[in-house]
Symmetry: C2
Subunit: 450 residues, 2 copies
Amino acid sequence: MKQLDPLFFPKSVALVGATPDPAKLGGIVLRNLLRLKGTVYSVNPKYGEVLGIPSFPSVTELPETVDLSVILRPAAEVPALLEAHRGKARFVLIVSAGFAEAGAPELQADIIRIGREGGLRLVGPNCLGLYNPRHRLDTMFLPHACLKRPKSGNVAVVSQSGAVMICLLDAIRMSNTGISKVVNYGNAVDLDAPEVYRYLADDGDTAVVVSYLESVGDGRAFLDAARFLSDRKPLLILKAGKGAGGGAAAFSHTGRLAGNYEVFHSLMNHYGLHEAADFDELLDGAKAVSYQRPAPGTRVCIITNGGGSGVLAADECTRRGLELPCLPEGVLRGLRASFPSFYTVANPIDLTGQVRVDDYREALFAVRDVCDGFLVIALTGVAGVTLRLADHLREFREQVGKPLVVHIAQGGVAPRLIRLVERAGIPVYPSPERAVRGLASLLVKGEPHG
Amino acid sequence: MKQLDPLFFPKSVALVGATPDPAKLGGIVLRNLLRLKGTVYSVNPKYGEVLGIPSFPSVTELPETVDLSVILRPAAEVPALLEAHRGKARFVLIVSAGFAEAGAPELQADIIRIGREGGLRLVGPNCLGLYNPRHRLDTMFLPHACLKRPKSGNVAVVSQSGAVMICLLDAIRMSNTGISKVVNYGNAVDLDAPEVYRYLADDGDTAVVVSYLESVGDGRAFLDAARFLSDRKPLLILKAGKGAGGGAAAFSHTGRLAGNYEVFHSLMNHYGLHEAADFDELLDGAKAVSYQRPAPGTRVCIITNGGGSGVLAADECTRRGLELPCLPEGVLRGLRASFPSFYTVANPIDLTGQVRVDDYREALFAVRDVCDGFLVIALTGVAGVTLRLADHLREFREQVGKPLVVHIAQGGVAPRLIRLVERAGIPVYPSPERAVRGLASLLVKGEPHG
């Protein structure tokens, strides 16, 4: 058994501060925890039973040593509660806020000391904790009516911030991808990103790791773990707290110094680690690598039915260091022979507003061997783009297997087409530039992953 | 009457290449044109009548000189057709492609000459033309089933590319804003951006102009017109064809050289003209200035219920040259007195996942006088964010009047809340960084517009 298995697959969970009241955090978390594939205990001296499970006055009374205990009580009560956990829990998740991030570093020092002396592993404080759909583990104090959970999938999320974590969860759900494991570790008094990275590196359910950071405790340990992970699967990191204002905000958020961003950034670069510039870029990259595996090479062909959209995509390719090679004379001749004279046969290939859907197929297969990645732009405002495009894209993807992303914009068959294309394992993006950002994370300059 | 009035408000329009067949471009455009507040004539020797309107064998037979004639016939036929227009039309819109952009510069030279000799103003070729909802003018060859038209509003679109124009139209519709006038001028053999900019500068229906360019014919004329316009109302420009690949793509797209982007960029900067980096940024800025008027000052206050989202927004403020001032001691003291100790009272103000909706109101009014613009972040995954937030935001906007934008993410009441907030004249964005980009276009370093 690996070290973090009891955290992600707990056989038994205690909730300190459980209540039957659905309007209170303790009532929300209890309802979410009751879905667990395992035993759940309530700890609350006010009740003998809560929502059909036994409730104990203190963790000391629990009938077993639980894998995970979740504390939902005010910060001032946490040290005494933690003392009581000695020998009764492996991991203790402290959801409560009000520690270093709120100007109470001594309270935080107390819980660190108690955890060490008691042999307790700590997660948090000031966090939402865990979500593992395969084990139906969910410690988030967010009602399902407010946050729909994403389905089971291959994306892991490691986030210092709870807010960014829930934004990522929702965005991943909307991307038609799914989640392997999620952890939000807040002030990180014990469990921190490096340990989770190493665990996920060997996790068979996880194909890609998306990580949001504001601060790094031990820089060396962080970089080593990040490299260990990213040698095995794609790791996308968004580091916030970059400027003066953001750095100060990051400090008040989790009580750790954001550090000098320039130093962080140059070390990331030096170690070949991939960094996203902002939330949308993190998401666009994550979507791509959750759909397809990265492959070597940087030569891109753009096939579009809108000239301007092709130009915007070409600009973004240049910014991302992707090439738009000239197509070989033989390929050009073949395409010119089959297409009307007003199509532009070059790279981008512009099939214009008068496109017929089979033109996309012809263009794709003509360039299959001369490029490493492909961007198809389909503006559905014109009548020639039909749902059959999804069949052509699926066929190309199955036969050729190289990275392929699609930008579909507005109107007509767009919603149905997007669904069909994504079901075929091809990610769709809402703007030309975002599609190129997705493609860029699938095209690696050195060796492929895996 | 201003020079471009017959173009945007034609009393009579002829369609050369009209057909009753709804599957052909001539059938689609005819259906869209028939909504016009004015007279429409078909020109097609095959018919005596099309869809209930008279059809003439040639423009020479038209019973009047039309304000606008639209040519939908293949490129090779256009010179002869254009000859026939002499004295029969003020403006001729050439939708057809197949000129300089398709390697036929001599055909393009022909139509330029014929237009000049015949005293005809030309739009295009290789374009979609015009959309003016107030006059129900619509020359686009896109069926309504494929592209829903945005409602009437205050945003003008001036686009060299038809594809980017239709993407903008759809995005503007989704932003709950509306359109004043749209023109897509393609290869720009006669009508070009500068003339349109000057017309829109004095257009009472237009509050903001969004412009997509790939090339600029006369650089001096362009910059003069852009300054003339942007002295009167916000002008947002996206210049594509930036890198080597994009520049080549832009050339094959409209047959004009993209020019050296660095030179363009530094001139734009020099003249204080606003340039968007990509499609999404163009859209985010346009949305903001279509909802609210820009105001002077760069001091921003962020009020959030998610710490990490606040940090990401703070980072983007730094990148955009916006300040996050420390709040005065009196303001801090007041907020600390009313809020729980685990809220972070600083800038950003972090109301945490335990926020109550009235806390937003309290925070906003506390900082009203110490900042120039405000970003409210509401993560609806937590139970405390209710629809009443829209009332608080409306009240603040009405009483204080300073720029205010909102980021709302995922779940629960989000869709209804977004609608209510936008109805109150406050733009909502899907990520912290995009919200800051919107706010940045409302905060001007020098004098305010208007």
